[in-house]
Amino acid sequence: MSSTRAPRRWLGTILAGYLPLVIATLIVALPLIWMVIGSLKSPGELLTRDVSLLPKDPTLDAYLEATALIDFGRLFLNSSIVTVVGATIKVVLALTTAYALVFVRFPFKSLIFGAILVALMVPAQVSLVPNYTLVAGLGGRDTYWGIILPGLGTAFGTFLLRQQFLSLPRELLEAAEMDGAGHFRRLVQVVVPVTAPTIATVALVTIVNEWNDYLWPLVITSTSSMATLPVGLTLLQNSEGNAGIYPMLMAGAVVVIVPVLVLFAFLQRFIVAGLTQGAIK
């Protein structure tokens, strides 16, 4: 009996298991592989109608030509500055806010927490015109602070860290208080070390969001010297109408996508945990 059932089970595992698994993985991976292949083609090769799957002779020309059209070094620098400064401030603000909400006595704490949580609900899109008017009025167009400032208020990090802090044993902080440690020392020397994984999660999700952020930098910058990478790619996309631009665009896509992909490959445990919080309890 088992001799007839074993092959059928094996077939079932292939058809309902491995086959869909492989197909799904390929559907996700192939466009990204296609992006890399596209970036290695020469612009001339794409203009001919019969396009081969693999580049005839792989070249980094597209990266160089893209850099000639738009200053990629500068875009990368701008994106890095915005990401590092923005994410650092956001994580620090989330830490101090969550700490105060959990461990410092003050009236109306839940009201204040609620007011901050609303920021989770109000996407940048809804506040687009008023924030543009405000920041542009203060002279923030085409400046780093103009790009960074409006997004600094953080609800996501505050929410996640507050949850984590609430689960800490009270004795831990009481011991530190009896040792005479003030709130700063309690935060830095007691709370931060024991909640490091959650802080890493918040930091990584924040970094990825800042790096990918598009709408706000798009409206607040108008010159390529102050643009971030996603905005610069839009300028590049608009700069030429023919298909020869594609290798350059794919080179740009590689530059904006691959850093996050590498980060994700090594630290996906934290990133997935952070992005799926709320659903999995």
């Binding site: 595992t13 309902a16 869909p20 799904a24 993985t25 996700v28 990204l32 296609w34 596209g38 794409l46 109608r49 396009v51 603000l93 101090t96 806010t97 105060a100 909400l101 006595r105 007011a115 901050i116 609303v118 609900m121 996407p123 899109q125 809804v126 506040s127 015109v129 008023p130 924030n131 600094l152 208020g153 009270r170 009896m178 709130h183 990918n212 598009y214 709408l215 798009l218 990478l229 790619l233 839009t234 996309q237 298909a243 594609y246 665009l249 740009g252 896509a253 904006v256 996508i257 996050v260 992909l261 994700f264 490959a265 996906q268 997935v272 799926t276 709320g278 659903a279 999995i280 309890k281």
Partner: protein, 311 residues
């Protein structure tokens, strides 16, 4: 103050309520404000204030960047609901239904596969989740390249198969479909991972008992798995609706003019920054979008609260 309090005294002191009259209370208040005020101020200025401003601006005939504006009452809303709304709301509805349905259905199927003990499923899980964290601009460019009617790989494959190449970028309906496909591609891994967590919380003996009673895999899925997944499904419906209502990057990159793809969100952008500079009108649409987001979020919070109590 008094002599050093013992452990019990410190204990009760720490748990005492805050009071302004004590030195400690004032010091705590100082620390609290120092720690919270910067974040709170940013949220108030850049999230709360704009909501109020939007309502005020939506009552003006105002060109973005112009210092002068003319009050027009509800004219912007009337114009939106009589002229643009049918098309824009329809596009938003189609986009939302197709993307939410598509990513959740495919995500669920994928989760069922990922839930089996297969070699390489950890790798597959990470791979399908990856697009969710990647730049929408980068992804949009890659898919623009793939869908290009002349040199795109999809067009070449269709031509090789002797089929007609769809005019993805010219036909408004096809443009909408194209953006939906890419949105689903980007979000299905997220749905799969959330569904997978839901599946793993279903007790195995429940399914085993049903199998012993002679229930086949389909019966088990529809009578046990799916009902037990309903909290997950509800959570995903709401979060994916919110994500879908906010979709911008893909639409801006793949269909800059919004030909067939002008959702509520994209209209807010187009009216203000797409060349018309209609600040007041854009603010009116943003207010409508905000009202919809409030409804979705309130439903979500109600539900989450209930779930916490049940748990």
């Amino acid at each position: 103050m008094a002599a050093t309090p013992g452990p019990t005294a410190a204990h009760s002191r720490l748990r005492r309520r805050w009071a302004w009259s004590t030195t400690r209370g004032r010091r705590d208040a100082g620390i609290f404000l120092l720690f919270v005020l910067p974040n709170l101020a940013l949220v108030l200025v850049f999230c709360w204030w704009p909501i109020i401003q939007n309502v005020r601006l939506s009552l003006l005939d105002w060109t973005l960047g112009n210092p002068r504006a003319r009050p027009v009452g509800l004219a912007n809303y009337i114009e939106f609901f009589t002229e643009d709304a049918p098309q824009v709301l329809w596009t938003t509805l189609v986009f939302t239904v197709v993307t939410v349905g598509g990513s959740m259905l495919l995500g669920l199927l994928l989760a069922l596969v990922l839930n089996r003990r297969l070699i390489g499923r950890t790798f597959a899980r990470a791979t399908v989740f990856a697009p969710f964290v990647l730049s929408g601009v980068g992804i949009g460019l890659v898919w623009t390249f793939i869908f290009d009617p002349n040199i795109g790989i999809s067009s070449q494959l269709l031509r090789a198969a002797g089929l007609v190449v769809p005019q993805w970028f010219l036909d408004p309906n096809l443009s909408l479909l194209m953006v939906c496909i890419v949105f689903v591609w980007k979000h299905l891994g997220y749905c799969a991972v959330i569904y997978l967590a839901g599946l793993q919380s279903i007790p195995g003996d429940l399914l085993e008992a049903a199998a012993m009673d002679g229930a086949g895999p389909f019966r088990r899925f529809f009578t046990i798995t799916l009902p037990l997944l309903s909290p997950t499904t509800f959570f995903l419906v709401l979060t994916t609706i919110l994500a879908s209502l906010q979709a911008f990057d893909l639409i801006r990159i793949m269909t800059p003019l919004g030909n067939g793809t002008t959702t509520l969100m994209y209209d807010v952008y187009l009216q203000a920054f797409g060349g018309y500079n209609r600040g007041g009108y854009s603010a009116a649409i943003a207010t409508v979008l905000f009202a919809i987001l409030v409804v979705v979020t309130v439903v979500q919070m109600r539900f989450l609260q209930r779930r916490v109590h049940y748990a």
